[in-house]
Structure formats: structure tokens, C-alpha cells
């Protein structure tokens, strides 16, 4: 609405200007260029930078991944998808992918559920809502490294007789059956690794859901209640279906963070196979083994994995914006 009135204002402004004596093609071009040229000039530095440093680098990375340059000094030649196939034949890569999948499922699922639950509680109205909101959002301000350092201590896997951290708490309250190996357990340890990530991001997800809950007009809820709907039914049938966009955004934000996870793992476990994920493996491959082609291959897989999350989201957003006539 406001944009239209601004447009109208601009039109009157041009009309008010005295007419030039020789209206011609040149002039029309100048007027037209006046509308798009400044904009283009304004964005061209970022187009250029993104072109070189994002897409250019993706291109370079891809060409490396398709080559056999396995040492920094040697020249590579094109070998097609060999690197992509060979990665699956070793034992470390599938294990790292498995770890990333477990981490992602637990992290995304956990943060969504907890965030949704917290949002629901706040939406129902409690005293001191603002204080709780701040409290739940606070972990967002902490870096993954700091979170990792603290949780590394909390999730100390020492057995009951030497327990520290959470295990010591369990022992204190006679809950010794809860004492466990946390992230050092082979196979499912990554589920424990997701706990700090859930702690850190569920507040953010709560804020997303809370905004979603608040965005549902009160009239709709009223109407449902008049029709004899229970309070749970209102949420189940009226509010929840309207939260699909919010949920989708949340899944994408969490999902792409989760696939790239690096700092949290390094802070808690360092470079150990038990907590290996693709990003850590890539770091080792590039900076320690110094194998550019293999490192680039892992990077490509990471890009593809993130793209699986992000591209549908972009398509969906663009479609939505179009259909809303923006």
C-alpha cells in the first residue's frame, strides 16, 4: 500500500518538472536509466563479490573435487566422479555421515519439539512472560565453542565411582541407572552430542513458534470455540495447520546448521572418530593430510546436503511472494 503511494508521489514529481524542449529517444533512455542505473550501481559490488567469492569458489571447489589432485603440489587431471564414489568405499566416511544423520535427527526433532512446547506454554499466557522469553532466548547469544566447553564438562562420561558433571548429579539423587557414556558411546553417542545444540537453539525456535501462535487471529479461535471446539481442539485443528510455514522455516534453519556442525564437535570431542562428522573430516583432510581433491569432494557433499534443505525453501518463498503479489 505504502509502496503504491510512494510511486504515485514520484509520478507527480516528474510531471511537475518543466518539459524539456527536445523530447527524444536519448532523453527517454536517460529517464529510464535514471530508474535502474543507480540501483544496479548500488548492488554491483556485492554481485561481483558474491560472484567471485561464493559462486567462483564453488566452481573452483567442484573442479578440484572432479580432479585427482591429491597433493597440493601435484597437478590434477579430470577424473569425473571417482572421488565421490571412492569416499563411500572407505570406513571413515560412511561412519561420519551416519553420525551427522543421528545428530541432525535428534537435534532438529528435539529443538522443534522443545521450542514448540515452550512457545505453546508462553502463548497460553503465564506471569512474567517477557522474563521467560529472554531467559529461553539467552543461550542463542552464546557461541557453540563456549557451549561446547561447558557441556563437555557436564557430559563427562566417568562411571558412578568417579562421576562428575551430570553423572554426579544422577549419583547424588540415587538415579545411578541414568549414569551413561554420553557422547563417547559408539554409534548413538551423537544423540547426546545434540543435547547442547538443542539447549542452545530451542529458545530461538520458541520465538518463531510464539510469533506463529500470535499471528493466528483471535477471531478464528473464537469461531472454533463457539462451534464447541475444546481448547486442545482449537490448537489441533485451527492453530497448528497455520504454523506449517513457521515449522518449515525452523526445520530449514536447524537442518542446515546441523549438517555443517563443526565448532560444537571440536569443542566437545576434538578430532576423534567417535564423534566424527563430515565437516571435521574435511578439515583433517585439507589441513593435515593435505589432500585438496578429497577435501573438495567432502565440501561438495556438504554443499549438496545443505542445498537439499535450502533450495526447496527458496523455491517455496519465491512462489509465496509471487502469489502474494509482491
Amino acid at each position: 500500500m505504502s509502496r503504491d503511494s510512494a510511486q504515485a508521489g514520484a509520478d507527480t514529481a516528474t510531471e511537475r518538472r518543466p518539459r524539456p524542449r527536445t523530447p527524444g529517444r536519448l532523453h527517454r533512455m536517460r529517464v529510464r536509466s535514471r530508474t535502474w542505473l543507480p540501483g544496479l550501481l548500488l548492488v554491483s559490488p556485492s554481485i561481483l563479490l558474491i560472484g567471485v567469492f561464493v559462486y567462483g569458489m564453488i566452481g573452483w571447489n567442484t573442479s578440484l573435487a572432479l580432479s585427482d589432485q591429491h597433493a597440493p603440489v601435484q597437478d590434477g587431471s579430470f577424473v569425473g566422479l571417482t572421488n565421490f564414489v571412492e569416499l563411500w568405499q572407505e570406513s571413515r566416511w560412511p561412519a561420519a555421515v551416519g553420525n551427522a544423520v543421528v545428530f541432525t535427527v535428534v537435534f532438529v526433532g528435539g529443538a522443534l519439539l522443545l521450542g514448540w512446547f515452550l512457545g505453546l506454554m508462553l502463548d497460553k499466557g503465564i506471569r512474567g512472560e517477557a522474563a521467560f522469553r529472554t531467559l529461553f532466548l539467552a543461550p542463542m547469544a552464546v557461541s557453540f565453542i563456549a557451549t561446547g566447553v561447558v557441556w563437555r564438562w557436564l557430559m563427562n562420561p566417568a562411571p558412578a565411582e568417579r562421576a562428575t558433571g551430570l553423572n554426579a548429579l544422577f549419583v547424588q539423587f540415587d538415579l545411578e541407572f541414568l549414569v551413561n557414556d554420553w557422547w563417547t558411546a559408539p554409534n548413538m553417542g551423537m544423540a547426546a552430542m545434540a543435547l547442547p545444540a538443542i539447549w542452545q537453539l530451542s529458545g530461538y525456535i520458541m520465538a518463531l513458534f510464539l510469533a506463529g501462535f500470535r499471528g493466528v487471529p483471535e477471531e478464528l479461535r473464537e469461531a472454533a470455540r463457539v462451534d464447541g471446539c475444546s481448547e486442545w481442539g482449537v490448537y489441533r485443528h485451527v492453530v497448528m495447520p497455520q504454523l506449517r510455514p513457521v515449522t518449515l522455516s525452523a526445520v530449514i534453519i536447524l537442518g542446515h546448521m546441523s549438517l555443517k556442525v563443526f565448532d560444537l564437535i571440536i569443542a566437545i570431542a576434538g578430532q576423534q572418530i567417535v564423534a566424527d562428522v563430515p565437516a571435521v573430516y574435511m578439515w583433517t583432510t585439507v589441513f593435515e593430510v593435505r589432500d585438496p581433491a578429497k577435501g573438495a569432494t567432502i565440501a561438495s557433499y556438504l554443499l549438496i546436503a545443505v542445498a537439499v534443505f535450502v533450495i526447496p525453501y527458496l523455491v517455496w518463498t519465491i512462489r509465496k511472494e509471487r502469489s502474494e503479489g509482491r
Binding site: 570406513s91 571413515r92 566417568a158 568417579r162 563417547t184 559408539p186 576423534q272 572418530i273 589441513f287
Partner: protein, 420 residues
């Protein structure tokens, strides 16, 4: 503590500033020398500071730039260094583990051979032949060793051993395994403390050396070596038995915590390099009372060594000043300034033993080093193998820690040797 952080961040900042500024001014006027290392804490930093002070006294016209990058065993530093070398912006000298770990740099043409320097300074005579031989690559040396550390040391807690009734330090792997069992039965202590994955690699090399003997161990690291032998199987079986006596939470601890467990009587044994002696001093433990040491079982008379060394990069902006630096770190005087503080022994065998008398461990280690022991190179600390092979072994050990499959471990180790 805060002062140290400030120093570290100042050093890192200085490195960053220099990295960004160096391309422009071209350098080369001999007024500064930039030395890159990962010595940013504890005895390492103190040792480096002692050297820097001496260097500035001897060369008042040269400004010393300490480009140290923090991070355990140099992982972060190596990533930063790799970037600088690739963009042809090398420091004047950088620290690296002597031996195969530098091979990648040599092959990439980043390093200048130092044969003339070795002749000039008489280093071939001053250092043990076996040492210079093991750091020679295709007939040339590329780095100047400043110290020697020992990797195969078995640390123990005398109190725990007494409680368990163990009188003599175990001399073979079988004796060690018996001792571990006794500790398990008789005391509440952890029989063998280990830390995160790399400390298990460290334990593995000592077990291999102890089981196979020095020559067979050294042969394992020749490209294409045969690891598929009954002898290796036997060594790995001992390794597996020892691992059964380690603590469950090891993955969440680094070497300091594992060593601390020994000096505080929470564990009976720990296999760690002799930098643990410096750490014990730091935490106030007393030699002979809180901790004791012996060569790891089966390795008496062999020094499994590793060494920090300095290099001269190709295209170093201030080559003359860098040579002065190398001169200092290779001299007997420089090594005696650095090593007692860092907690290591000098690479030269003509230095002054009196400088090491304050430390019970160092004086004994120095006597042993000068007594011409047999030498084996540490694989984990970059002496015998390059980064790729080392990483393959690390991965195999990590996977073994997860699945406990000894057969697969041996197979992967064999494959790693064939891949070179």
C-alpha cells in the same frame, strides 16, 4: 593468567598484521626476523622467550617478531602456516617436528636445504649420526633440531604400586599386563590411564616398539612395509589387553588429565612422552614420591625420539637474520637456554649437563641420551611418517576404539603402509 592471554592474543594479532602487511613492504632489509611456532604456553613459551631474549641481546638491530599461533600440538598453527606458504608469504623461520612431517613442505619446495649450514656449524659432528640420518630427505637436511623428547616413557605412581604390592617396574609387556591385573584386583585405582584418541596412538607406538624391538619397529615405517605378520598380530593383541585396563571416560580427557591421574594417585600407569615431566613440575608433583618413570616395557635401551626443529623457508624475507636465529637455536648455548625450561634435552651431545641438574628426570634422560642409545622414530609425532600415513593410522585406531575389531585394525594398518 590474563597476562598470558594478552601476550598470546598480541602475538596472534601481530602475526595477522604481519601476514597482511608483509606482501607490501617486501622486507629483506634485515631489520626484523619473524619466527613462527605453536609455543604459546607453559614451559614451551618460557623456553622460546629465553631464546628470544638472548637473540635480541646478540642482535640489537634486528627486531624479533614472535608469530606464535596457539593450539595443541600445532594443528591450528599448521593450518595458518599452510595458507602463508601457499600464498608465498613465508615467515623467516618456522617450527616443525623434525623428520617426515616436514616432507610435504620439502616436496612442495617450500624449504631450503641446510647442508651448508650444517657444515658451517659443525652440526653433523655435534648431533648423533642416527638423528641426522633420520632427518635427511633425499640426501639433504632441511631443519635444525633444537631439542629431543622421548615418547616411550612409562609413568607410574609409587603409592599405588606399593598398595598393589608391585615392587619392580614392569620390564616386558607381559609383566605390564600382569601388573595391570594386580592393580585392578588390589586397588581402586585405574590401572592404565589414557586420554583422547591421539594418546591411544601414542600408546600404540610404544607397545609396537616394546613387542617388536627397535629394528623391526623402524622397518614398519618403510613404505610398503609388511604389517600382516604374526609378530604384529602379537603386538596388537598385547595392545588390546592393555586397552582393557584403561578408564571408560578416556575419550573426554586429554593427556594432561591422564598424566595428572597418575601423579594424584588415581591411576597406576600412563604412557606419555617426557613432556609429562614438565607438566608434573607445573602441578607441583614430586619426582619419586608422586610419580616415577621407566622406559615403557620392552624398550629399555631405546630412545623413541621426536624433535622440534626450525627451518629456513624458500623466499624468507630476511634470510640473514633467519640464519642468525638458526645459529642460536643450534648452538650448545642456545639449546641449554631453551631446553631446561621447555623440559626437553638438547639435540646436540656436547652440551653442559649442569644446566639440567635441577630436574631429576632431565638429568637422567640426558645421561641416557649421551650414552648412545638405540634410536626409534616416533610415528605419531611426525618422525617416521608423513601426515597422510599418520592420519590413516589415527583413523584405523579411532575406528578400532569404536568397534573393537583387532583384525580390521591390523588390515587397515597394513593397507596404510601399502598406500605409500
Amino acid at each position: 593468567m590474563r597476562a598470558r592471554y594478552t601476550q598470546v592474543s598480541a602475538a596472534v594479532l601481530a602475526a595477522a598484521l604481519l601476514a597482511s602487511g608483509c606482501g607490501g613492504d617486501g622486507g629483506g632489509d634485515g631489520t626484523e626476523v619473524e619466527v613462527f611456532s605453536w609455543w604459546t604456553g607453559g614451559g614451551e613459551e618460557a623456553g622460546l622467550d629465553a631464546l628470544i631474549e638472548r637473540f635480541e641481546e646478540d642482535h640489537p638491530d634486528v627486531e624479533f617478531v614472535n608469530a606464535a599461533v596457539a593450539g595443541g600440538s600445532g594443528t591450528n598453527a599448521q593450518a595458518v602456516l599452510e595458507g602463508r606458504l601457499q600464498s608465498q608469504d613465508p615467515p623467516d623461520s618456522f617450527q616443525g617436528h623434525a623428520g617426515a612431517e616436514l616432507q610435504d613442505y620439502i616436496e612442495a619446495g617450500y624449504l631450503q636445504p641446510l647442508d651448508d649450514f650444517f657444515d658451517e656449524q659443525g652440526l653433523q659432528e655435534a648431533m648423533p649420526d642416527q638423528l641426522t640420518e633420520q632427518i635427511t630427505y633425499e640426501g639433504s637436511v632441511y631443519s635444525v633440531p633444537v631439542n629431543v623428547h622421548r615418547s616411550n616413557v612409562l609413568w607410574s605412581n609409587p603409592g599405588v604400586l606399593e598398595e598393589a604390592g608391585i615392587e619392580e617396574s614392569p620390564e616386558t609387556l607381559d609383566e605390564l599386563i600382569d601388573a595391570l591385573e594386580t592393580v585392578e584386583q588390589e586397588t581402586d585405582a585405574i590401572p592404565m590411564a589414557v586420554g583422547a584418541q591421539w594418546t591411544v596412538d601414542h600408546l600404540l607406538e610404544s607397545v609396537l616398539l616394546g613387542s617388536l624391538g627397535t629394528d623391526a619397529y623402524n622397518e614398519l615405517w618403510e613404505p610398503g612395509a609388511d604389517w600382516d605378520t604374526p609378530e604384529v598380530t602379537e603386538a596388537l593383541e598385547s595392545f588390546e589387553q592393555i586397552m582393557e585396563y584403561t578408564q571408560e571416560e578416556s575419550a573426554a580427557e586429554d593427556w594432561q588429565e591422564a598424566s595428572r591421574r597418575v601423579s594424584e594417585g588415581e591411576a597406576a600407569f600412563n604412557v606419555m612422552g617426557d613432556w609429562a615431566a614438565g607438566y608434573f613440575d607445573e602441578v607441583g608433583a614430586t619426582a619419586g614420591e608422586d610419580y616415577d618413570w621407566a622406559p615403557s616395557p620392552g624398550t629399555d635401551g631405546t630412545y623413541m625420539w621426536l624433535s622440534d626443529s626450525f627451518t629456513l623457508p624458500e623466499g624468507a624475507p630476511n634470510e640473514d637474520a633467519a640464519r642468525s636465529w638458526l645459529e642460536l637455536v643450534s648452538s650448545a648455548e642456545g639449546q641449554d637456554l631453551f631446553n631446561p625450561v621447555k623440559g626437553s634435552i638438547p639435540a646436540r651431545d656436547d652440551t653442559d649437563p649442569a644446566a639440567y641438574e635441577d630436574s631429576a628426570y632431565l638429568s637422567e634422560a640426558l645421561a641416557e641420551w649421551q650414552d648412545e642409545p638405540e634410536l626409534a622414530g616416533s610415528f605419531w609425532h611426525g618422525v617416521t611418517v608423513g601426515n597422510r600415513w599418520k592420519n590413516d593410522v589415527d583413523t584405523a585406531v579411532g575406528l578400532y576404539l569404536g568397534d573393537g575389531d583387532l583384525g580390521t585394525l591390523q588390515e587397515s594398518l597394513h593397507e596404510a603402509a601399502q598406500a605409500e
